[in-house]
Symmetry: C2
Subunit: 464 residues, 2 copies
């Protein structure tokens, strides 16, 4: 419990209306989108309105040794935003201004609380887009997605969040404000702090402003679905599309379990007897190129024994993407606990990984479906279980262990886009080795020696 005087100091800093202490609020801010995690209600939720306020809050927290949990929209999937001990949740919902859109330099400057879709809406009138597109673009914030280095459906062609953050303002654990990077396309002044703070999950500093890179919006697109009788055929089609030197904007896969669940949920006419389907969209600035690429994709799908369906209208396109967008909600509707992982492998091992996920699901008698971003090897093996069934949860944990082991054996990684948070910390050594884990701790402890910033995420708190 925080001393009442701390609450009063916070109220004096940011105003009473920006300090929440009601029980309902505190419980609401104890969650994010991750299942099956330890968590704790915070003492207080503070809504800063400026960088200077953030600095003052950090200094106050430091003086009183209070943990700070920075928070965007809380959509993350690795426990990156849940409080693990009492402290301050720092919510950026009131720092949500787009400060600058510079069409000549293809940049935007935003506060961390700006919702990704709001930025895209604002830049659309300039014919521009901000490409990173986690599934949660309608609610996730620029600050949160930068802290998590979010990926999304367009990662294969357009890259992920870190490829679009050109500069930043950050408040450090000592209360100092640093600014680096900016509107220049090239910048090698200083260490690459932007990329250090992107993906650091709020453990090294608090992002208070972002300079984002924009690109011209693609003018044409073609959307297709390939339906396959075997996972191997689907995997070969993925490899074949890349080998044909087509880089689709999106190249998504769903396995049988996911297809069936989505169809039961949404009734959109998916082929429930298929082993796998691919959803593919090519886009670009030239109708001719997009047509040529679509033709290549269709040829590869057919050559790999796939049944092809091309969207002939925007409506048909939307219905195909509805299938993909419904994958998670459909799976979630089946059971009370959805374990959504993001084990990621080199593109050439996708088929192997899909098959092994199915085998692991069978071995542990679990409801396990896999979908995800086949084009970049970023898969989402998803396990449905009941958190009240301890025995089943035990099997789930064993299955997850095996899934990560398989991903690493294939030369993959623990996390393609969800981050480490609390959920995957125990596996870090398996990928990084002890020397890598030590390097994580060295960085954390040099920038945040008192473990004030999002403690317990990515790096274990010293002594715990």
């Amino acid at each position: 419990m925080l001393d009442q005087s701390i609450i009063e100091q916070l109220e004096a800093l940011v105003g009473k209306e920006n300090v929440l202490t009601g029980k309902v609020d505190l419980v609401a801010y104890s969650y994010d989108a991750t299942a099956d995690l330890p968590r704790q209600t915070p003492d207080v939720v503070v809504l800063p309105t400026s960088t200077e306020k953030v600095q003052e809050i950090v200094r106050l927290a430091r003086r009183n040794n209070i943990a700070i949990y920075p928070r965007g929209a809380g959509t993350n999937l690795s426990g990156g935003t849940v409080p693990l001990k009492k402290g301050i949740v720092l919510s950026f919902q009131k720092m949500n201004q787009i400060l600058d859109i510079d069409a000549a330099n293809l940049t935007a400057v935003v506060q961390p609380g700006v919702v990704i879709n709001a930025l895209n809406t604002a830049v659309a009138e300039h014919g521009l887009i901000y490409p990173p597109d986690p599934g949660t673009v309608a609610t996730a914030t620029m600050g949160g997605s930068a802290a998590e280095n979010s990926g999304g459906l367009r990662g294969l062609k357009y890259g992920v969040t870190k490829n679009y953050i050109m500069g930043m303002e950050v408040v450090l654990a000592n209360g100092a404000k640093v600014r680096f990077g900016g509107k220049t396309v090239k910048n090698v002044t200083a260490y690459d702090f932007s990329n250090l703070f992107v993906g650091s999950e709020g453990t090294l500093g608090i992002i208070t402003e972002l300079t984002a890179k924009l690109i011209p919006a693609p003018k044409y697109r073609r959307t297709m679905m390939g339906v396959f009788k075997t996972l191997t055929d689907a995997g070969n089609a993925v490899a074949g599309i890349i080998a044909a030197q087509v880089i689709p904007a999106t190249l998504e896969i769903m396995d049988r379990m996911t297809i069936k669940t989505v169809e039961d949920f949404a009734n959109i006419g998916l082929p429930t007897d298929a082993e796998a389907l691919l959803l593919i969209e090519v886009d670009g600035m030239s109708e001719d190129v997009v047509t040529t690429e679509a033709d290549s994709v269709m040829r590869v799908v057919t050559e790999n024994n796939g049944d092809l369906k091309a969207a002939e209208s925007d409506q048909e396109r939307d219905s195909l993407w509805t299938a993909r967008r419904n994958a998670l909600p459909a799976l979630a509707s089946l059971n009370n606990t959805v374990i959504l992982e993001d084990a990621t492998v080199p593109r050439s091992r996708i088929t192997d990984m899909l098959i092994i996920c199915q085998e692991i699901g069978k071995k542990y008698d679990l409801t396990l479906g896999t979908f995800g971003h086949a084009g970049d090897g970023n898969l989402h093996p998803t396990i449905l279980c009941d958190k009240n069934n301890e025995e089943e949860m035990g099997r789930m944990h064993k299955a997850v262990d095996e899934i990560f082991k398989a991903a690493l054996d294939f030369g993959g990684t623990l996390s393609g886009e969800h981050g480490i948070g609390v959920a995957k910390m125990k596996y870090l050594g398996d990928e990084l080795g002890q020397s890598g884990v030590d390097l994580m701790a060295l960085l954390k402890e040099s920038l945040d020696p008192d473990f004030l910033l999002n403690p317990g995420k990515m790096v274990p708190v010293r002594g715990n």
Copy 2:
């Protein structure tokens, strides 16, 4: 002077043939491509043949408090590789193997001593390229260009080195080996160490292996030259090309002084009465798109009062690029000291920056020409002077100060691609502020507390 026993221990570690102590060798390794710098001959040059040897050398150096200067081909332009005190130059010329080319995953794994062009030659048979292309691709190494985060002519469309390094092996100052990243397109496991070590100029760790991203080689290209009577017209043409949503592979500018010097040097028929010329190349996978983009470029050049010349053959293309490639050697031929800077501004401020560079040259009565990568705002104001003329060197230093001040005033940066090294350390605070400089020092001191790794670069040695 190193104790002879240290030399003997090094010889025992890597073999006599890989330990150089001759005076000629030591002098050769006291230089890099940067003019007008302090430097020092090292005690010894060591050529490791494996990561394990690097680890043992680092441990030996640490036990004996000896500085280590990691070195690729020594082509850098900010003093990043010159020894500043006695110690070991660690040259990677014998760790020059391409370990893996994986066309399915679009990756290559290389040792740091691999020359950039050698990698490009090796991947060409798979129809692939490694896009980063500093002017020195024929000699610069993968390790050196990663340590410097090299840019180059294709940065606008294809990005710079950091965008192509997916994973790394690094030996830290404590002798530990860490590996991170790899062949997966997405990876958010751990802090983004790859991007931390890329561009850290050998001050945080020693790169011993790299996983590089490859892309399909563009199939078509069109090369054009625009000749302009004013810098403003040329600058407007650059802005117009981007506004037309064309992203050229290269978009280079040369001012009058550079044009004249290149023409005197190479006699290739450049218009010496022009105020500026643009060299523009568009490329892509589709002839149609490339033609459409070339048409847009030609329209924009003409609309901005430029005279247009399109290369009609490979020979004509080569002759246009010869002009650009000759810019530096031509300027260098004129005088004994060439100060080549890389002040970089947001694209929209290129004209302003070109004009101010000319004005600064006039103000200080210096021979100053500017050329560079107009498309990404990365300019190379280049001053010719005589290092024996102390008074002129004084004017040069004042001019350089003003050039950097102007770049920062325009929202730019001290270095677009050459790095900080020793040359620009004194300006760091002007861009980063004291809190940013402190953050640099904090990182350096946490990873290399004894200042063993390339001491005196990027971050001042504590106590100096």
